[in-house]
Symmetry: none
Subunit: 421 residues, 2 copies
């Protein structure tokens, strides 16, 4: 089976948004072995959309549409497809209930155009929308398959994973099982990683290995094919072992995890609590932590000590420390980490101070970062970084480095860091 991904929306053609849905869906389809040979984007124009559908039908078995399922007059994907395949639109009971519930829950009045979102192509397999109002659809006509998905990525992605992908898998006869696993690395660049495993990359066939530079980190996707899923998994296991004999010190987790999630796992297992003092990062470490469910037993709280005043007032940093060493210093980072831990009575204190940029501070260039870590009953220590990104990039990288150093510390101190530590 091969697929074409068709994005519908004039905003794409005006360059107002980037077509990230095509990237996401292509990645997902590659994993299950469905070839994507074309992406197309077309505006909110029924005639041009119809022509695009005809072209796609001439070269693909599966047409996946994103966008144009909303309540406004511009949203005409399902009308156009229904018309094209000589079907009609009918109201879906579950979908209209979801919409009514939404308006009731948020105490808003439903405008009549919202009802349009509950219309689906007659006879289609309806894909529920658990993060919005417009349901998706999957429908077969003659030998072609059509999948309609909403445009907003936060609605489209979970719908596709939970309902779209299984519907496609039901239709394709997979002879070989395809198993893939993503290995995540932090603290090593893409080109350095490639050099380390160059010979392995050169001789790859099954499993294949694809390196990809991501958001301040590198991933390797290992994909194996075999008639038996168990054998495919074994192929991956042995490749993982081979790769990590070379670069295992940078490895931190699998698939969709993040370094923050891995840190939280360790804190939870060992029943440790944490508090943070954030100057440079302005609350980013804690907000990333609290974006994850179930963090309340671990993160007690902390301080955003963006000004010197707040460092002294909220965290009792000694004026002498600031005058002697400055705020961009090992001493300040250590004092912040220790004091926030003492203040909130946690097992761990972490601090971030430095120069986010673009201007320099205290004679230190933008990108100078100190990360302090304090454990109960141990002297605090601090790590220095010299980053070279944008202001916001430096803040984000600092948070990842904070997780990385803390994880390494916890792994090195496995013995003494239990709940009774």
């Amino acid at each position: 089976m091969n697929a074409e991904i068709i994005a519908v929306g004039t905003e794409l053609l005006l360059g107002q948004i980037v077509n990230s849905n095509a990237k996401y869906l292509s990645e997902q389809l590659a994993e299950i072995g469905v070839n994507v040979y074309h992406h197309t984007a077309v505006g909110d124009n029924p005639n041009r959309l119809k022509e695009v559908i005809k072209v796609a039908e001439s070269r693909a078995d599966l047409l996946i549409f994103t966008g144009g399922l909303g309540p406004t007059k511009d949203d005409l994907t399902k009308d156009t497809i229904a018309n094209h395949i000589n079907s009609k639109l009918v109201e879906d009971k579950q979908a209209i209930q979801t919409i009514l519930d939404y308006f009731q829950k948020t105490n808003r009045t439903m405008t009549e155009n919202n009802r349009k979102q509950a219309l689906v192509i007659e006879g289609s397999h309806v894909l529920p929308n658990e993060h919005g109002m417009a349901p998706g659809m999957f429908v077969k006509n003659q030998s072609k398959f059509y999948m309609l998905l909403p445009g907003p990525p936060h609605e489209m992605q979970p719908m596709f994973r939970k309902f779209g992908l299984p519907a496609i898998l039901d239709e394709i006869e997979v002879k070989e099982k395809i198993v893939s696993r993503v290995l995540r690395y932090f603290g090593i660049g893409e080109s350095q990683l490639e050099v380390e495993i160059e010979d392995i990359l050169d001789e790859q066939s099954n499993p294949t290995i694809a390196p990809l530079a991501g958001d301040n980190e590198v991933t390797l996707r290992i994909t194996a094919r075999h008639q038996s899923e168990e054998e495919a998994t074994k192929l991956i296991d042995s490749m993982e072992k081979r790769v990590n004999e070379r670069v295992g010190q940078y490895f931190y987790g699998y698939d969709q995890t993040t370094i923050m999630k891995e840190l939280l796992k360790v804190l939870q297992e060992r029943k440790l609590t944490i508090a943070a003092a954030e100057s440079l990062t302005g609350g980013l470490f804690q907000s990333e932590m609290t974006s994850i469910v179930g963090v309340s037993t671990m993160l007690i709280g902390g301080v955003v000590c963006y000004s010197n005043k707040s460092k002294m007032k909220l965290l009792n940093v000694k004026e002498e420390t600031i005058n002697t060493y400055g705020v961009v210093s090992e001493q300040c980072a250590e004092e912040l980490a220790e004091n926030v831990r003492n203040l909130l009575g946690t097992s761990i204190g972490i601090s971030f101070t430095g120069v986010a940029g673009p201007d320099s501070l205290e004679g230190h260039p933008a990108g100078t970062v100190w990360i302090g870590i304090s454990f109960v009953g141990k002297p605090a220590k601090a790590y220095k970084l010299q980053l070279s990104g944008s202001r916001n990039g430096n803040q984000k990288r600092s948070v990842k480095y904070g997780c990385h150093y803390l994880l390494k510390e916890l792994q090195a101190n496995e013995e003494g860091m239990g709940p009774n530590y």
Copy 2:
């Protein structure tokens, strides 16, 4: 003239990268009034690329290609197009010199495949590459135009701005100037906004109005065409006035701004300082604020009071308040805002407390939010929200609502809120 943007590269179809070039070029072409009706992405496959070219020729006057100009075997865009238009490739003198210079400068040996990058379509207008080795091309064949650009955005964008755009402008007779302006709204849904201005949308011609739902907000792009730029701007002004007579209470700014930036503008103008107490949002308000340059004179700092312990310990919230009303309450929000303002001696205190989800808390469903605002010398007040997104979505929306309410308060209190307030 209308254009199709064709990206060539298997990495796009595997979902390894997003097609940001299509977005960039669309934006640039919209500015000069060239309509883009289609984007296409196709892999490094000469037959499929040829078919894509034929389809594009049937519906566009100008075909812009990105990618496939490099030195490897996969790079076959120019071979395919030359073959298609019955032309041939010849070595460009300036291009081969650029390549030789590059290798000399970086002290590396040139491999033979690099020479391929200097080949250009015979008779084409060569677009120099000032940030890489492969030049671009612009060529006319019969009534169609073909522009070939490199794939890496840091090479493609400056080449297009400096050489590509002027080459296109030379070919089109621009009679009218096109001016566009984006109006940004918060606190109103896309469908409600459309209902409010339905008649204006229905009768639009010049200027045109395009609504777009963004990240928890709605934008309207107004675009006018006129022989005089001044007159085009006047057309936009009068349309803006007409629209904002209906929905002006939700309007907060123009073009690339954000509601956080608008809030910071007001704080800066009036020399106001702010401190934040973040429970629900876990530091997100402050980290978004500190991601913007120049915030240090306004944001003194604050507290992430994620646990009840930290609310009491760091912010002196009364145990009685928590026991009587709970932390998800108007009273708690007000106390947090007032206490953080007093603690740090700022003009304004803001607080966020509530239930991010997915679980309920104190009998309140996920998405229940209280935002407290305290000004010096005034009783604190709190706003309630009932949101229905994901955990992280609720946190992000709460931050935007915090900016929104605070901006509205500041606008309503313009008199009494100067620096000496």
